[in-house]
Structure formats: structure tokens, C-alpha cells
């Protein structure tokens, strides 16, 4: 379904050129749960951003079915992200001026076709993450964990084919973390949503069927036995 071939991306820091992603290649099938493990600064987030169409690689291709992501125009790429991909970021990614409900339905703002029934879908997702009574609250009125749960709910709103998650459970306590991972697992099994998860957390590995390790930009497959 997704074929990633020979991705390279480097950054210039002062006079040094840092290779964030160095010739990364792998294949993702529909419904896969892929974990990419690595230390901070190993290039995981950059790789995820290239796969999600957020930053352009210097070399390599990201092919979704028959579509080469980086050959799309900027508008088409935005539309592609809006309809087929969603993200869970490692930071609190809610817009502070919007209520929880408005944050959840935000992707539909950019896709008129997706607006029908969006409120019901959003409220349903909010009950799945235990925030049904917080739909009119603002992010500043929520705890860090609740904000993360709201961001996870938003990731499912546009029924994406793939969710790219960057440290999705970083701020959560163990109990909530397990609940969120269970939600992701259910979405993976019931709706066939593909997950690529970047994490330090080896517990997440148990839920994933493919594992990779990233070290200084080099991606290697890892057998978790």
C-alpha cells in the first residue's frame, strides 16, 4: 500500500550537515501497525513528517498506491493529507482558541464534503476517549492528558487510511495510555487504519506487527521475537 524508497533528508546546523534520514526504505501494508523506535534526535520524527507529506525529502519516494506523494502539487498534497492521513503529534496539538469539539472537527473545515454528520462523529469520538463532558471546554481548561486524548480523537475524525503518531502516549498516565492504545488497536482492527508509531516506549511494540529501529538517520528492521 505504501512504499517508501531511498528517503534522504539532511539539515545544516552551523557548518555541519546532519543526516536526519539516510536512505530509508520499507513497505507498509494496509492495516499494518508499525513501530519505529529510536533515541531522541535519531531522525524518527523527520521520517514520519516525510511520509506524512509535511517535509520534502532530498531523495527518495513515498508512494501511496499509485500516487507518488512528493510529485503532487501543494494544493493536492494538502487535500491528500486532509482526506487520507492524520497525525498525532508529540506536543499538545490543540488550537487554544477553539473548544475541544471545534478542535476535533477542524480537519472538516478544509473539506466541505466531510462536514455532513461531523458533529455526531466528533461527539462519538469524544465519548470513546472519555471527554464527552468536555466538548465545550477550551484546551487551557484540560489537563495535559486530556489534551492528548482530544488530539487522539481528532486523528480519527476524517477516517484516515493512515495515522502517523509521534510519541502518542507521552503525557498519559499508565491507565489512560492503555485505554488509548486499546482505542488505536480497535481502530486498526475494525476500520483497518494503518498506524506508524514513533516512540521510545517499548510497551507499544507489543501491539505492532512490524518494528524498526532508527539510529543516526539509518532505519533498520528489527525482529521483536
Amino acid at each position: 500500500m505504501i512504499e517508501i524508497t531511498g528517503l534522504c533528508k539532511s539539515y545544516k546546523i552551523g557548518k555541519d550537515i546532519i543526516k536526519a534520514v539516510d536512505n530509508a526504505s520499507f513497505k507498509v501494508n494496509k492495516g499494518d501497525s508499525i513501530m519505529i523506535y529510536g533515541h531522541s534526535g535519531s531522525g524518527k520524527t523527520t521520517l514520519l513528517s516525510i511520509i506524512g507529506g509535511l517535509t520534502k525529502p532530498e531523495l527518495g519516494t513515498v508512494r501511496y498506491g499509485g500516487t507518488e506523494l512528493w510529485s503532487l502539487t501543494d494544493n493536492d498534497l494538502s487535500e491528500f493529507r486532509n482526506k487520507r492521513i492524520n497525525f498525532i503529534f508529540q506536543f499538545s496539538s490543540l488550537i487554544p482558541t477553539l473548544t475541544v469539539l471545534e478542535n476535533i472537527i477542524l480537519p472538516a473545515t478544509f473539506n466541505k464534503a466531510a462536514r455532513r454528520g461531523i458533529i455526531d462523529d466528533a461527539q462519538d469520538l469524544l465519548s470513546k476517549v472519555g471527554l464527552q463532558d468536555k466538548q465545550n471546554a477550551y484546551p487551557s481548561q484540560l489537563s495535559g492528558g486530556q489534551q492528548r486524548r482530544a488530539a487522539i480523537a481528532r486523528a480519527f475524525i476524517n477516517n484516515p487510511e493512515i495515522i502517523l503518531a509521534d510519541e502518542p502516549t507521552g503525557d498519559l498516565d499508565e491507565e489512560t495510555e492503555n485505554e488509548m492504545l486499546e482505542l488505536c488497536r480497535k481502530m486498526n482492527v475494525e476500520k483497518g487504519i494503518t498506524f506508524i508509531i514513533v516512540t521510545h516506549n517499548t510497551d507499544i511494540a507489543k501491539q505492532c506487527n512490524k518494528h524498526f529501529v532508527m539510529n543516526r538517520g539509518i532505519l533498520t528492521s528489527k525482529d521483536m521475537g
Binding site: 517535509t55 494544493n75 473545515t109 478544509f110
Partner: protein
Amino acid sequence: MSFSLSTLAYKNIRRKFFRSMAIAAAVMVVAATLFSVTTVMDSVETSLTRGTKRLGADVMVVPTNSETKAMASLLAGEPSTFYMDRGIEEKIRKIEGVKKVAGQLYLKTSRYKCCDTGDMFIVGFEPEHDFTITPWLAESLKSPLAPKEGIMGRSITAYRPGDSFQIYGQLIKIAGMLEATGMPFIDNALYLPIESFRDMVEKTDNGTVNIFDKINNEISTILVQTEPEYSPRRVAIFIESRIEGVKAIVSEDVAASVRKQLFTLLRSILSISVILWVMSILLISVVFSMIVNERQRELGLLRALGAKKTDIFRLIISEAAVLSLSGGLAGIGIGGLFLFLFRDPIKAALNVPYMWPQPVNMVLLVLICLFLSFLTGTLAALYPAVKSMKMEPYAAIRGGE
């Protein structure tokens, strides 16, 4: 529940209310200054154009040393009286280049001694020679003015054509009304045929109204229309060189000199406003750059969720447009209020009649000021908006970390 980019823009404006108000206030100051200065400029221009057009004469002849009073009457609408020998009128009629001559006699009535209407400016004119009053009648007279019939300026609202009222013991009937000119000198006057005027004088008790003693063979102003092939300035020189004790004022020179004097001052204020405008654009641009930097991660996030570059551009520009239009509207309101509240000091300072511009001009001024206000915000936000829309989503998200 409807939610759109406009909702987000509106909520962003409310997020930092004080900062948003400061941006709107900067535009407001510029709009208020531009609106009030351009309105005053337009008022002055309208006043001068109307005044000279309304006067209808190319040259106005007054007694020497009375030109200041005459100008005050003409431009500021201050009733004043000055007299010269009526025989001068015939002398002027014979001067080369003179086409038409019409004399006018001025009388400022005094409170308690005059009439039902209170203080009034009475102008005696010569219907047989007149070319400055009757052409401005709102409706043509059905017949020539009879003795004890007069024409009213538009601002005397207590009477309508057909009504009569007492003036110095005489019953005067209103035969017609002039069109409004906006000039108090013209709009607040009663116009009587000069012979009726003198008749009224003769029948009035001189002991009570002693000013009439002076005007039996005198006249206040002689209005001159020149032949097309003679310039008014040349005819004025002829008049002054051939008749002693008079001053010939060229209408267009009056307007030109006042225009030059006032517009030099107003242009200086306008230049300061333009500098203020440019500075506001720079200032607001800096503030919007700060806003965009502050929201970099949010903008990157919006892009990640599917916002196009144009959505980001629209979001920032619409925030700027709403703030600048609000500031512009408030500025126009404050500018208008300022002009209304301080119309008397402004009038005193400018020494010309203060008239609001024509409705069409007023609408145009409001629209131009609103457009400039809109331009202030949008120009200021243009660079930050283009910069943020060009930013790669990942770089924006990382930049905000």
C-alpha cells in the same frame, strides 16, 4: 454548529484582545486624521466654489478699507455693513470690459428694533439689473417683485412663500425662496428690491432706526460681470484706476488666495497623516510578524490537517482586514464626531463657512478612508502572511517548539 476559517480568525482576534485593540486603534488614528483632514479640505473647496459661484460676479466693488469686512461677509458669513456713493454704479457701468453691473445695499437689523424674526441681514438689490439673486430662486417668480415683496434665504425657515411678516413697521410678503447655498451670509438674508427698501426707510421713524439716515443715496457693494474677452483682473484694475475710494475684488483671486493659504496648512497636516499611515503599516506589520511567529506551530498544524497555503494566507489577511476595517470605521466615526463637535473652532480657525461636503463626496470620502484602512491592515499583514504560507508545515511545527 457552523465552523469556518472566519470563526478561527474571529477567535484569534479575541485571543489577545488588548493587542487586537491596539492594532485597530493605530488604524483608527490614521483613519480619523485622514477623514477629518480630507473632509475639511473638501468643505473648504466646496465653500469656495459655491461662494464664488453663488456670488455670480467676476468683480465685487466695495468701499476702500471695507474689503476685509466684505471678505468676512462672503467667506465667513458675518453680516457687516459698509456704504459708498450710489453714483459709482453708473461710473462703473461706463468702464471698458464691464458687461453687467448690479448694486446691493446691506443692512444688519438690530435686535428689539426690527422685526418678528429677530436679527436679520437685509439685502437691497436692483431687480432690473440683478444677475446674482434671481437666478438662484428655487422656483421662478410668477410675476416681477411688487413693492413690499421680498425673497428669503433658505435658512429662514419660519416663513414660506406667500407668508407676510413685519419689518420696521412694514408688512413684507415673501414672494420666493432661494436655493440653499450653505453660506450663512446668503441663506439667512432677506432680499428686497432696493426701491422698496428705500421706501421702507422713508416711512420708518428715523429717530428709532437712525442707520437708515445713512443709506438714502448710498450703496454697499457693486457686483460686476465682465465681458468674456476681458479678464476680471484687468477690469478690476480699470475700476480702481478710474474711480477713487473703491476696492475691486476679483472673485477668483479671493478663492485662489484662500485656497492657497488653507491648503498649504491642510496639505502639511495631510502629509503628516500620510507619514503616520506609513508608520502604522510598518508598526502593524511588525506586530503581525510577531503574531505569526507566535502561532507558527498552530499554522503548521493547520497545514498538517489539510489547510492549503491560501487558507493560511486568508486566515491572516482576514484577521488584519477585520481589525483594520473596524479601526477604520471607528476612525471615521471619531473623525466625523470631531468635525461636528468642533465645527465652530474649526470655522473660526479657517475663517470660511463650514459646510459638510456634498452627500456624494461624503460617501466617497468614507469609502476612500475605509479602503485606505483596509489597505493599512492588509498591506501590513501581507509580508507575514506570505511568509507563513510559504513555510513548510514541518518547519512551522518545529519552529514553534
